[in-house]
């Protein structure tokens, strides 16, 4: 019996590669890690905490930072939508804990190669890539890939290493250490947030090419298969399934527009004049050629989009809701073709469209208000496309934009910080929190900075009845997007559950679009996969543990409660028109209750009592 025969659901091995020394080590996966932190995101923060004991002294772009690729116990299995994985690091954009999560097939391939986690340490002397085939791990030169985009890099490595190879890589933006650089896997799936691509660039690691041929064993295969089938049924029977599987996240554009919160002209208004071109139906009819799924996903929400118009000609995976807003409604572009093209460029350069679009929208408003010498007009698609390119290659003003929105607002001054849509230094996502107060709280407290996916409290948006609000969260207001009452408790539940889902590495669309898959279902799936005795309470406790450890890391990086905030625009400037006219985020009413139920002190740190309860040793 080999070491790996003892593991079910996990492969039982951590791969550690030091690019400074060239040392390659394989270590057994510790049992405590599985039992306390589940996998994926949980593994990420636990290993980051252990590897960087004094995080405040770590230069995110220095060799002392680490880049952790982690999978969960459901990756590689037929559990619904289990194709995700996480990369964790200290973020150069925010200076605190940073992670990013992506779909596709790369995460599963890490498992089939025999690893749960790949830790990259140090810094290579020249551009390299990591080639992994099961036990064989090589650091190879990537000098011929320097400067190449995501599409070419992926094609070249698959050609070289064989068609079963999965590739994660950076583009020019990552090599240039742009603070919104992403890591792309399987060409069209992006670990986009927190500038994880810049960290990979700082390590001079162009790509990881991986191909696995090993068996993944389950503790209770028959029960696992049956449970997966039950979950498929719950998901397909849900009312949201048909729209999501056909239109993808584009349906959220419709929802946001209807609520009067489709962030337009850098969030100056929630009413967007070009919805006829941006509706999910128009997008699907005019540009989409087919639906695509990630590994083991029955929802298949991705769309392949083709633009024929000569000036914006491109073909590839099309934009998601976030990108329609970031590169579309925020800069107020009237047509969708240029948005799809700008998305394609961000993809090929390897950049986070949320951050890139957010920064462009901010700059447009600065120009409108005469705060900068450059002249930009709302709706100027060619200016957007030009700025995308300048950011990736750090040309002219692009070099300043590449340092992030917060840096830019500090430099421009003149009160521009009030409408710089960022939190903790990270550019905020699409959904205007003035039309979803739970989202507002979630964005303010998210452990990786301005991010909606830590909480994703869709419960308030889905027209549940007040009775259902009482049943689930003890407060009828939790179903009213404009209400702040009851939202702290609701957000907390979502955050803990999201940490579980991210750690098992399933896609949140299985549970936060439908509320069909619940903590008990997750506990069943993970128990049948691993043989570890999970139940709904224990697994939610693990989610809470993960969230609190992320908090501790951030406090050690110097984060204070003042950082749990939102831009002044969302806190004080009511939406000017439409169904949400006058709405602001009443953050001051929600935050104290949130700290109270979290068990966090006034200095932002979890109480000793809370840490003891969660079994976190400091």
């Amino acid at each position: 019996m080999t070491e790996q025969d003892k593991y079910f659901g996990y492969m039982g091995q951590i791969l550690r590669v030091n690019l400074s020394t060239g040392e390659i080590k394989k270590e057994p996966l510790p049992r405590e890690l599985m039992e306390d932190y589940i996998g994926g995101r949980g593994f990420g923060i636990k290993l980051l905490t252990d590897l960087l004991p004094d995080p405040n002294s770590v230069d995110p772009l220095g060799p002392e930072n680490v880049l952790i690729f982690s999978t969960g116990p459901l990756n590689g299995t037929m559990s619904p939508s289990s194709g995700r994985y996480t990369v964790t690091t200290k973020s150069p954009l925010t200076g605190i804990f940073g992670d990013a999560n992506s779909g596709g097939a790369f995460g599963a391939e890490i498992k089939f190669a025999g690893y749960d986690v790949i830790i990259v340490e140090g810094q290579a002397a020249e551009l390299v890539y990591l080639n992994i085939r099961d036990d064989r791990v090589e650091i190879l030169t990537a000098s011929d890939l320097a400067g190449k985009g995501i599409m070419d890099t992926t094609d070249i490595l698959v050609e070289k290493q064989g068609r079963d190879t999965k590739v994660a890589c950076i583009g020019p933006a990552g090599e240039n250490m742009v603070f919104c650089a992403a890591i792309a896997n399987d060409k069209y799936h992006y670990l986009a947030r927190c500038a994880v691509g810049a960290v990979m660039g700082s390590k001079k690691l162009k790509a990881i090419a991986i191909n696995g041929t090993l068996d993944l064993k389950l503790a209770a295969p028959a029960e696992f298969l049956k449970k997966s089938g039950d979950c498929y049924r719950k998901i397909t029977e849900d009312k949201t399934y048909d729209d999501f599987s056909y239109y993808g996240t584009a349906v959220i554009t419709d929802i946001a527009a209807e609520s009067g919160g489709l962030s337009t002209r850098n969030g100056q208004t929630g009413i967007f004049d070009h919805m006829d071109k941006y509706s999910s139906h128009a997008y699907r009819e005019d540009f989409v050629t087919r639906s695509e799924s990630c590994f083991s996903c029955i929802i298949h929400c991705s769309n392949y989009a083709v633009v024929e118009e000569k000036k914006y000609k491109c073909a590839g995976k099309g934009p998601e809701f976030e990108t329609f807003v970031a590169l579309g409604s925020r800069p107020d572009l009237p047509e969708l073709g240029p948005v799809i093209y700008a998305n394609y460029l961000c993809n090929d350069y390897g950049m986070d469209t949320i951050s890139v679009g957010g920064i462009i929208g901010f700059l447009f408003e600065c120009s409108e208000k005469g705060m900068i010498p450059e002249k930009y007009q709302w709706g100027d698609a060619d200016a957007v496309i030009e700025l995308v390119r300048k950011m990736a290659f750090r040309e002219g003003i692009g070099d300043e934009m590449a340092k992030g929105m917060k840096y830019l607002a500090e430099k421009i001054g003149q009160g521009s910080m009030d409408f710089a849509l960022q939190t903790k230094g990270m550019e905020l996502p699409a959904y205007d929190p003035r039309t979803g107060k739970g989202f507002g709280l979630g964005l303010a407290v998210a452990s990786r900075g301005g991010d909606h996916l830590r909480a994703l409290p869709n419960f308030e948006l889905l027209s549940y009845t007040p009775e259902e609000g009482i049943k689930w969260f003890g407060d009828p207001h939790t179903v009213d997007p404009f209400a702040w009452q009851g939202k702290a408790d609701m957000v907390l539940w979502h955050e803990d559950f999201a940490a579980v889902v991210d750690s098992a590495e399933m896609c949140k669309y299985c549970m936060f679009a439908t509320y069909a898959i619940l903590p008990g279902d997750m506990a069943d799936l993970i128990r049948y996969a691993t043989g570890i005795e999970w139940d709904d309470k224990k697994i939610m406790k693990a989610g809470e543990r993960i969230l609190n450890l992320e908090r501790l890391f951030n406090v050690a990086c110097g984060l204070t409660p003042a950082d749990d905030s939102l831009p002044k625009r969302f806190l004080e400037e009511g939406l000017p028109e439409g169904p949400a006219k006058g709405q602001i985020v009443e953050l001051d009413k929600m935050l104290p209750r949130y700290y109270e139920v979290r068990g966090w002190q006034e200095d932002g740190r979890p109480t000793e009592e809370k840490l003891k309860e969660l079994g976190i040793k400091v």
């Binding site: 590689g76 299995t77 037929m78 097939a105 089939f112 068609r163 079963d164 399987d186 041929t213 090993l214 068996d215 993944l216 064993k217 389950l218 295969p221 298969l225 089938g229 498929y232 397909t236 050629t289 087919r290 639906s291 695509e292 799924s293 990630c294 590994f295 083991s296 996903c297 029955i298 298949h300 392949y304 073909a315």
Partner: protein, 138 residues
């Protein structure tokens, strides 16, 4: 000529690869796409399904020197005991990737003996029961 025993409509395939996972679990009790008798490859703007088409006049049977690949009720069936892993069937098959050798074993779809897991779990109409359904219902 491929038969319609199991209908393959590649245009409907979204590339989730659940078929690979349930196939390997059914035949080996573990999950491993490399052991699957059906594979799906994402090409730029489509997914390619590779598996036995159960041809009416299977060339793999003609090519087999040992009788391992033989006809049973007019369909190609593989007998592992007689197989010498020469690869002649793979050469002869007009559908690249349908037959593969992995770890000293020729992998060929057996339709799970009449109730194929891949069809059962396919979330779209990419894999459906064709003539097989009629046979079963009789």
């Amino acid at each position: 000529m491929p038969s319609d025993l199991r209908k393959i409509n590649a245009k409907e395939c979204v590339g989730c690869r659940i078929c690979e996972l349930v196939c390997s679990l059914k035949h080996y009790g573990v999950i491993n796409p490399q052991r699957s008798r059906i594979r799906v490859y994402r090409l730029e703007d489509r997914d390619k399904i590779e598996t036995c088409r159960f041809c009416d006049n299977p060339r793999c049977v003609d090519a087999c020197p040992t009788g391992a690949m033989h006809l049973d009720d007019g369909r190609a069936v593989h007998d592992r005991e007689k197989c010498i892993l020469c690869g002649a069937c793979i050469e002869a098959c007009p559908f690249a990737g349908s037959l593969r050798i992995f770890e000293e074993e020729l992998l060929k779809c057996d339709l799970c003996g009449g109730d194929p897991e891949c069809v059962k779990y396919c979330p779209t109409d990419a894999l459906t029961l064709g003539a097989l359904k009629e046979v079963k219902n009789d």
